[in-house]
Each structure stands twice: as C-alpha cells, then as structure tokens.
Amino acid sequence: MILDKRKISRTQFMFSVACFIQSSSLLTSFFTSITKQDSWIAVILGSIVSIPTLLIYSYIMKKFPDKNLIEINDMVFGPIIGKIFSIIYIWFFMTLSAINTKDLGEFVQKTILDNTPSIIIVGALLLLCSWTVRNGIEIVTRYSLLFTFIATTIVISTVFLTINQMEMDNFLPILQQPKMAYVRATHIISAIPFGELVVILMLNPNLDIEPKKRIKYLLYGFLIGGFTLLLVVFRDIAVLSKTIEIFLLPSYETLRLISVYSTLSRVEALFAISLIILMFFKISVLYYISVMGIAYLFKMKSYKPLVLSIGVIIIIYSFIVYPSIIAHMKSGSETAPFGWLVVESILPLITAIVAKIRKLPEQKKGMSS
C-alpha cells in the first residue's frame, strides 16, 4: 500500500536534506547563546556527533527500502507497540511543524507586518502548504534545489558584503568556555537542526534511488547543509563577536549591519526572503509527513481528505505550543534536546537493533511460513 506513488529523484533528495538543515541555520540562537564566540566549534562537533545517527537512519533505509517509518514500526514491534511508537513520532512531527510555523509567524509579525493578526500570516502560509501537500511529495521537494541555491547565494553574498565589518579578533579567546557549555551546545545542534532529519525515514518509499546509495546522497545533503550552517555561524561571530549571545536572530542582526558606502544597505530583507522560502519548504515537508503518518497509522486509502483538517490542527497547535518566546528559548536550550534525543536517536536505534535481532525483513516472502 503506497499512498503517494510519485518518486523523488536523487538530486531532489540530496537538496531536500540540505534545504532542511539550512532552514534551521537561520535560527541559531539556541546554541549561540551558550557557546558564544566558540559556536563554530560546537557546529563542527555537532555534525560529527550526528553522523552515527545518520548511519542508523541509512541502515533502516537500506533494510526497508520501500517502507516508511510507520510501516517499519508495525513490522518491527508488532501492531500494538508499533502503534504507540508511531503515535510518538506523529506527535513529534506535528510538534515540529507547529514550532516552525510559530517561528515563522512570529518573525514575520515582528519584522514585516506589525499590525496583521498572526492567524492571517500563518493561515496564508499553511493554505499554500496544504495545496502543495495535496499534490504529493514530488511537488513538495521539487524546488529544493532552487531554494538551496537561493539560500546559499544569499549566505555567500552576505559574507562578502560583511567582509569590511569582520574582525578575526572576534573569535578570541578560543576554548575558554566551561566544558559543559560545549557538551550542551553540541547536544543542541545534533538534536535541533541535524536530528530533525529523522523525517527522511518517512520519505523512504518515495525515493527513486538504490537502497545502498541512499547513504551517499544523505551525507552529501548533510554536508551542504552543515557547511552553510558553519558559514552562517562564522559570519555572525566575525561580525557580532561576543554580543552574539544576546540576539534572538543573530543572522538578522548581522545583515542589518551591512552598509557598503551607504549605497547598499538594508539587506535584511534578504534574510526575510530566505527565511520565508526555507521555512515554507520545511513546514511543507513536516506537514506532509504528519498527514502521511496519520493516513498510514489508520491504513487509509487516500491521505488527501486529511490535509486541511491537519493544517488547522497545526495552526492551533502553533499558537498554544509555547506560552511565550522565553519559554520557547528556555525549552529549546534546556529541556527539548533530551526529549528530541529520544525520538531522533534512541527510538531509531531500538528499531534498528530489534530489526537486526528479529532478522527483519525476511528476505523471501515465500520462505517465511
């Protein structure tokens, strides 16, 4: 039973991964507030720490090349425990959609549209996403290359534009933070942008790539995304120095400082453009995955009737998910990494181990009694 038969190509997959990570690279304050001018070390450490998780994902993808996470759970843990795990995952996906929707809605309301009620901002975006989601995964991921290209171009060009504000002294002193800060920042990075890649397990049956080569494209995408994240953090530290810890949106503040002979200024609009585009992509993917998860959970014949209702749930959820931005920041940098770690690394690890022990999937269906 495959609800969405459209396939996504290897380029689309690779850049979807990249785009997914880049979309988080714009909101870096969770860890820049902890490690300050050493955040770039945290990014590198976080990427290295995430690689084993990615290997677990690719192991599962290789073992079950045409099954998605919900079906894998059913196969590996049996119908009852599998359903519980699936519900946890679906809740996680919907929470991520809600949080990202909230991030975007708040950003737009604060910086672009002061007087517009946030339900209109979020509603317009989710309406657009629901149209995309109804048309399937191929449409959702089709523009990943274009979006990655736009975002990377903006990042690279802003690096050149801020070059006159950069000072290498801003990186000093290196490695002077308490040791616990590095551990914590690494943990946050591996959980919040990189660990969210668990969503690719839901796209598994739609990939038009040989199971063995999926790891390659996953890693390429991861590298592109990770490199952009590193570049963004470098740029922000070089421009903002230690003050990076006090800003909610360090990149936005960096771009505000751009002024080349006072002719080229006010470039923060670029940040807004790339944020809207990348967030649209990320929310579409998460939204699609939430819908698919529920449709597979109940073994429906079509996922399309669910789309609009789940969109409404995501909107309402995004309003109630955190009572305030302080609570959001606190949760993101203090507690959420632990919760997310369970869903993103430990559950897939258990899945992989149980599948290995139970020797799933059986190689030939005729042989198994």
Partner: protein, 520 residues
Amino acid sequence: MLFKFIMKKIVAWQNLNSSNHKIDNGLERQISNKLGENIEFIKKVLGGSNDIKIHEFIFGEEFEGAIIYIDGLVNNTEIRESILKPIVFNKKINKENEELSIKEIQKSIICSGDIKRSDMYSVLIDGCLAGATILLINGFRKGLVINTGSWEKRAITEPQTEPVVRGPREGFTEDLRTNTSLLRRRIKSPKFKMENMIIGRKTYTNICIAYIEGLAKPELIKTLRYRLNNLDVDSIIDSSYIEEYIEDYPLSIFATIGYSEKPDVVAAKILEGRVGIIVDGSPFVLTAPMLFVEGFQSSEDYYVRAVYASILRIMRFFAYFVAVYAVPLFIALTTFHQELLPTTFLFSIANAREGTPFPAFIEGLIMVISFEILREAGLRLPRPVGQAISIVGALIMGEAAVSAGIVGAPMVITVAIAAVAGFIIPDQTDSISILRIIMMVLATVLGGYGLAIGFLAVLIHLSILEPFGIPYFASIKFTRDKQDSFTRMPLWIMKDRPKELSATDVKRRDTYVPPDNKDD
C-alpha cells in the same frame, strides 16, 4: 486540484445532458443508376445555392453525364481540359460492362491524379463541398470525385507577429496545403509524417498532425490523436479552437500549447519531439506540448551568436520578473516597508504622493487597468488610429493624471516600466497581466510577505502542470535540456535533444570538427 475536480464534474454533467444524437441527414445511402434522380437528390440537398454548378452533357452516342462543382472552389481550366475534353472527345466508351467502364473512365480517360470512386451520396457531397468535381454518368451506380480544388489564397508573406532581423522571413498562410508544403520543404526526412483528419460537423475543417516518427513520444501522439478523434463539435474556425479543446489545463493562466506563425519555428519544435497541429484556415500552427521556457525562447536566439542570445534569455527572465513584480513591489514598499527605501528616495516618493487622494493600491489599479485598456484599443483599432490612441493615452493622459494629482509620478513610471518589460515576452503577456493584478492584491494585504507567498504559489502551480505528461516547469530541475533554458549554449554543445520530449532518437548531432587550435 479543486479546479480539476470542478472541471471533471462540469464535463461529466455536460456529457450526460448531450446524449449522443448524431444528425442523420439522409446522406448515408447509395446513389441510384438514374442520372436524373441523382441530380434531383443533390439539388435537394445542396439547395438553391447559386454557387453550385451542375453541367449536364452528352457524350459517346447516348451517354448522359453531369459534372457538379462549386464555383470558386475549383479550377475551371482543369475541369475543361482534364475532365470534359477527354470524355466528350473519346469514342471508345461502350455500354457493355458497367464496372469496367467506370474504372476505365477513371484510369484511362480523365487526366487527374486524385480521383475517388464511390457510390455513397455522403462521399460525393462532402467531396464536392471540399472543392472536388463530381462526375456522374447515367446507368452507372458509381460516381467519381475528382479533385480539382483551387481557390484564391494569400501569398506567403513575412509574419506580422514574429518579425526577425536575421532568419527566414516566410510565414504560414491560411491554406493547409501551403503550410504543409512549407514544413515539408524544411524537413525532408521520410519519417516526417502528417496525418489528416476532418473535424467539425458544420465546417468540415481539415486538420493535420505533423510529427517525426521515432522522435516524438508515441504516447503524446496517441493522446493527441485520441482527443482529436473524439472531438465532435460544430465548428473549427481557427487553430485556437483546437487548442482550447485539447489542452490539459484549460483553466490555468499559463498556456500549455504553443503557436507560431513561422515555419522555421514549428520545424525546430517538431525536431525537438513536439507535435505540430496545422488547421486549415489559420496561419497559426499549434505545437504541443508547450513548456514554460518556450515563452522565453525566440527563434532569433538560434540565429544570433550564442553569448548574445544567452544574455537576451537572462534579460527576458528578468523582464518577466519586472513585468509581474514591479508594481506590487512598489505598493508593498510604499505601504508596508518604507524603511527599506533609501531616505532621499523615500522623500521624493512622499513628495510626489503628497497630493494624491488614493492609497497606492487604487492608484496602481487605475494605472494598470488604463494601460490594459489602451493596449487593447491600440490593437483593435485600425493601425493609423491606433498610434494616435497611444499618443493620447501615454503622453496626454499620463501627464494630465500626474499634474492633476490623481496619481503620483513614481507610480506612472513603475507601471510604464512594467508594461514595457511585459512586451519583451509576447507569449506570456496574458499570464503577466493576470499575475500582476493578483500580486498587487497580495502586496496590498500582506506586503512583502504576501509577495513571497504569491511567488511560491506560482512556483507550485507551475510544478503541478504536466501537459501531456511532460513537466511544464522542469528546467528549474535542470533535467530538461539544461543547455537551452536560462542560456542558449552554442549549437555544437547541444548534442542531445530535450530528454523528456524525444522518445528514442535522442542524438542531435554525431560528429563535428572542432576548430584547430593554432597555438599547438
């Protein structure tokens, strides 16, 4: 998808209402062997139209014959020289064997290359209406349909819609034969096929599908053939009728079937694996499917130097962007994001808008709509008057509106820039006009955020379109012919045809002698 759903409903409902009632006009019957009866019948069917000529004559000893034709559709000299003279002056005809004799007339007496023999009234009358001459002879149960069609037609001239500086200047005419010959002269391959069909219960319009076998996708040809064969309508006046009936997305603002008036353009598209549809009576030949980039490709791109052509391409994409977004962006900047404008510029805008009574959206709407009206007026009026209209519109009304303080000068400038940019891409003019107004509304409601939403919505709409199963906006994915989308690479680099369009014969060129490197 909602549109698709509604469309399906509408189509199903319409098909339900129009139960299959084919008009039985009594023509599906055999002719009699009495000449008098036959002539009576044909007179009854064709009525008293004064362009129907029935000429009865006697030949041999006691044979009575008649030729029937429509005056103006036939070549009188040919009738005289190749039908009447040979029959009347031939003494061999005898009455012994009917079958042999009519065959003999067809084969050895009449000097014409295109003769059909039939005993059905329908065939005879259809042939007559299409410009053939009918020959009936008393005592025979069969009649001959001799093609003598020849009528006044426009000469091949340079097309008005697609002028070029460099490149062929021939244009299609209204005549189907001329058009097919123009194409055949460019593609001499035996695999270049043209299939004829007749559509229209009342107009009996000749339609021709032209493609290269083994190059166009078989599914594409099959789909087109299926749709055309099952098209039962009253009339086909122009190729745009066909376009509207067979296109995949009739409600989309983007055209998915292209058209051209130039045989070199159509030939090049057929050589890329598309299918041409030639309709009698229309100088515009359709090409299916049309992809988004085609609107930005002009025939001259391939006739000028590659680097320059690439720059032109990029400029066209930029112009499209300007044409759609200039006015909405101006509205968004002046109503929501004044802080993004340089201060001096902001002051001058504020100065200009000081006396204007309307919000930016209304101002923009007034200008855009009056521009559309002026454009339409300039097109429809006879040419000399049209120019006067543009002068009145552009100079006097624009100037007067600014000095009277109804609209601000910056808005007039923005609209003018957008309008001029839109003229660069003639194929997309309609989509530009619609998108511009949608974006203006979005910019008024949600500012820059609305523009981003609108941009994404257009992207999604484009990615949903798949005319005849081929992605409409695929070039952004860089799978379809990456050499010929945003840039036009030199011809020797474009080794392969667009992969999604062509079926098997993918190679465009095999060998090529690169220039010697003199430095070695």
